[in-house]
């Protein structure tokens, strides 16, 4: 088992240039600001003194290449600068927000599987028939709805009309969190389900036509036990990589959804930072989100290898 994970060190090594690239992009974000960045960041509150101070704080008075290496050096020491709004280390703010966004994402992932697996099974067992078409309509609509709008509609329906769930916030106690996170997680799950359903439906149809399922059927397996024992695990393999890619997309969506539901995670942190022109915070959130996507990519490969004995990413072909 562990033998097949030999590819992991090489995969990590491959990510090094990408991570460097990410730091370059994050660094240059400040330098795309037209004119003097310090002046733009401070806006109406700019005075010559404050501009000079911010220039020094951001290191904007040095040549660009020097600035990048200063930025990188600080990064290695774990310093992302201070938030211009809160006058606190950005790292603290980000680390506070990460568990909230992460629990939202995990919740959404679980809900999306709860939605996708049965729907894909329903569609795949009767391709071309009524319930397959109904599922296709669901996926088409699901893909076509703006995520934040789905959130608003859920608030309207389940929050305002039926009063089943709170319409915003994160809750005060640990027990309240899942209750408060349900609607935002459902919103993201609806956004994520269509691609999962499509992929799972296609691979399930393939698996159902295979010889080993035929054998299992002839031995008397049917219904849910056939599905659980023989079909799902094999059909899930291609879907895992789709979910991996999707998770990256989901992070982007969760930033907007947090704003809709007033959840104090990374998204609210970033959007608020944009409105207050708090550049160190914007950079930090962008950096962490990109690192998260890179890590998810590696984890996807690991899971892929573990659930499918035929996959061997350690072989030379892939490297």
């Amino acid at each position: 088992m562990l033998d097949r994970l030999r590819f992991v060190p090489a995969r990590l090594l491959q990510s090094v240039p990408v991570v460097f690239g990410v730091t370059v992009v994050v660094f240059f974000m400040v330098h795309l600001l037209p004119g003097n960045p310090a002046l733009t960041i401070l806006g109406q509150t700019a005075t010559p003194d404050r501009v000079a101070a911010l220039n020094t704080q951001l290191g904007l008075d040095k040549p660009l290449v020097d600035q990048y290496f200063i930025f990188l050096g600080r990064l290695f020491r774990g310093s992302l600068g201070d938030s211009l709004t809160y006058q606190r280390p950005v790292l603290e703010l980000v680390l506070q927000a990460i568990p909230i966004t992460l629990s939202l994402l995990v919740f959404a992932l679980v809900l999306s599987l709860v939605i996708s697996v049965p729907l894909a099974a329903l569609a795949a067992t009767a391709p071309g028939r009524g319930r397959d078409l109904a599922v296709r309509v669901f996926t088409l609509l699901g893909q076509g709805m703006p995520q934040f709008w789905v959130g608003i509609m859920l608030i309207l329906l389940l929050g305002v009309k039926l009063r089943l769930f709170p319409v915003g916030g994160y809750g005060m106690t640990f027990g309240e969190h899942p209750y408060y996170l349900f609607l935002p997680a459902l919103t993201l799950a609806i956004a994520m389900s269509p691609t999962t359903i499509r992929s799972l439906r296609a691979s399930t149809i393939n698996v159902l036509g295979s010889d080993y399922v035929g054998t299992a059927r002839s031995k008397g397996a049917a219904g849910v036990s056939l599905f659980r024992g023989h079909v799902l695990r094999n059909a899930a393999i291609p879907t895992v990589s789709i979910i991996g890619v999707n998770l990256g997309y989901l992070v982007g969506g969760s930033l907007v959804i947090e704003k809709v539901f007033a959840i104090p995670g990374l998204g609210s942190l970033m959007i608020n930072a944009i409105f207050t022109r708090d550049f160190p915070t914007i950079q930090a959130v962008a950096l962490f989100v990109a690192l998260f996507v890179i890590v998810v990519g590696i984890l996807t490969d690991v899971v892929y290898t573990l659930i499918d004995p035929r996959v061997d990413l350690s072989s030379k072909e892939r490297a």
Binding site: P17, V18, G21, V22, V24, V25, M29, L32, L33, P34, L140, L141, Q143, G144, M145, P146, Q147, F148, W149, I152, M153, I155, L156, V160, A202, G248, Y249, L250, V251, G252, G253, L255, V256, K259, M270, I271, I274, F275, I282, V285, A286, V289, A290, L291, V293, I294
Partner: protein, 292 residues
Amino acid sequence: MTTAVATAARAMRRPARSRSLRPWYRNGTLVAGLVIVGLLLLAAVLAPLLTPFDPIEQDLQNALQSPSGSHWLGTDKYGRDVLTRLLYGARVDLRIGFLAVLIPFVVGSVLGALAGYFGGWFDVVVMRIVDVFFAFPFYVLVIVLVFVLGAGESSIYLAIAAVSWVSYAKIMRGELLVAKKQDYVVAARLGGMSHGRVLIRHITPNVLSQALIYAMSDIVMDIMAIVTLGYLGLGIAPPTAEWGSMILDGQEFITTQFLQATIPGLAVVVTSLGLSLLGDGLSDLLSPERRK
């Protein structure tokens, strides 16, 4: 290069993909997509003729009216006709959505095609850059870039171009990796044709369809991005009618006038539905062998 060789090479050109036998107008998905997208574009273009109201002018005495004979979808908090703003919003959202795909389509396809065809260091460099951009979720980069470049239409074009060229590059590189080993390409090269001629005259017509099909879903993504930016207050500035900012305005009155936030969202849903059907239909038409 002798003419004989050129003729031979041309003769070996890969035959056009086996098109499905039924004519395009028998393809229900494609036709449905064309009709929906066509009607939307028509509504956007004809907006001034379709409604007697102005999308921007305020009429506070008639604010927040429910749907009626004169205001079919009611009025917003400034007394503006919601249907009128919906129609004028289509002009903004559809125009930006359709135009925004052009730059990334061209830039991404060209870079990806060159990377796939020539390989070597150019391929390595382009693909590493693609990897870096793929690490940032779409919305994160678009939102940050639009903020940095300043809210407005031209910033949206630039931000979307900067983010979405990578998908086209990836698709075209994959296509070229396959295409360059095919007989018709090898024959053309052996016939003495230049790389440029082979790429443009022989390969491009055969591989462009995948990028084109992807472009349909990309337009949907772009419209989502424009609407999302509008909702966040980072996109097209008010009072211009735009679906995203209409949803933002309507959210305030969700308990009393829920249509205000619902209707513009439905407009996005119909638009994406039309474009998705168009994409699926195109895919049936252009590369039937890839569909199952």
